[in-house]
């Protein structure tokens, strides 16, 4: 008797297809949550539920790019090296910023391939002299990045 199960993965039920980067959240209580564990996707809500204990947040792709947000010290790492551009002063109330920005274009003419651009926005916000500051990397799907602040 054949007990195999035929599972047809497509863009609806295999979320890894559309993701260039995946995340790992590491908490101050020595626990971690990976976006994919045993083929099952954990929703980011699980990270949000433990935001106050979030210590490090890593974003990696299959090409070897790795971005790390150190929420304890307010640092950003790229491939195990700290980005040198950030001031090393103590930062208060450091909180993660992370989302994927989708830009979908459609026009008044048929597009053979609809333009759909995704950029990962990764960084942190913190308090400095009572004012909220943000430092954000914009990372494209090929791993190219730019650093911005405000």
């Amino acid at each position: 008797m054949d007990n195999t199960m035929d599972i047809k993965l497509n863009s609806e039920n295999n979320p890894m297809i559309s993701l260039s980067f995946t995340w790992v959240a590491i908490f101050s209580d020595n626990t971690k949550i990976e976006q994919f564990e045993n083929g099952i996707e954990n929703k980011f809500q699980l990270v949000k539920d433990k935001f106050d204990k979030l210590a490090y947040f890593n974003l990696t792709d299959k090409k070897g790019h790795m971005f790390t947000i150190d929420l304890i010290n307010g640092r950003i790492g790229y491939n195990y090296l700290l980005l040198p551009y950030l001031e090393k002063t103590n930062k208060q109330n450091v909180r993660l910023i992370f989302f994927r920005r989708h830009r979908v274009e459609i026009g008044t003419q048929d597009l053979k391939e609809k333009f759909h651009k995704i950029t990962y926005h990764l960084g942190f916000q913190y308090l400095k002299d009572g004012k909220n500051q943000k430092i954000i990397l914009q990372i494209d799907e090929q791993g190219n990045w730019v650093l911005g602040d405000n």
Binding site: S11, E12, P15, M16, I17, S18, L19, Q35, E41, K43, F44, Q45, K48, F98, F99, R100, R101, H102, R103, V104, E105, I106, G107, T108, Q109, D110, L111, K114, H116, H121
Partner: protein, 162 residues
């Protein structure tokens, strides 16, 4: 955390929806993916209104910051494109409406809500359909609009996902 995006258009009195439309051609007929050669807009008239919206399937935690604007396509004389955000669906009409000009830069983009009127779409929340609100579009011309095809237009729907 991987939402699948669909552009949808609704047509007709009973609201027939087409998912994954390939264009938003505007013309003298209430139908999706229409051929503008078959259904041209007579100079001085307007196109049928287009009711488009986003549908998110798959899984995600939250969809926020939904925006819509026109990113490319210069107008010819007397031509304009009107738009309204979070419109209520009614049978599309060819009568010129009084909507505002569609924004042409991200900074003044239309803010799009969920179909339920929230400014975000939370996955799995009670009563959440996964649809955005409707965007109503209409191309309007005047008697001074030159004969012939107008320039192609490009529109952007942007959103943030976690």
């Amino acid at each position: 955390m991987s939402a699948v995006f669909h552009f949808c258009e609704s047509n007709g009195v009973g609201e027939s929806e087409t998912q994954d439309i390939s264009n938003i051609n505007m013309g003298s007929n209430d139908s999706p993916n229409l051929n503008t050669t078959t259904y041209p807009i007579t100079r001085g008239d307007a196109s049928f209104e287009k009711y488009i919206r986003a549908l998110f399937t798959g899984t995600w935690t939250d969809i926020t910051n939904m925006k819509f604007w026109k990113s490319a396509g210069a107008y010819v004389t007397g031509e304009s494109c009107k738009a309204a955000a979070n419109a209520v669906y009614t049978q599309p009409s060819q009568t010129p409406n009084a909507d505002s000009d569609v924004p042409t830069v991200e900074g003044s983009a239309l803010a799009i809500n969920s179909a339920e009127g929230e400014n975000h779409i939370e996955y799995g929340a009670s009563g959440v359909s996964g649809y955005s609100g409707y965007i109503r579009l209409q191309l309007q011309t005047t008697g001074s609009t030159p004969a012939g095809a107008v320039n192609q237009k490009q529109f952007v729907f942007q959103f943030d996902e976690v």
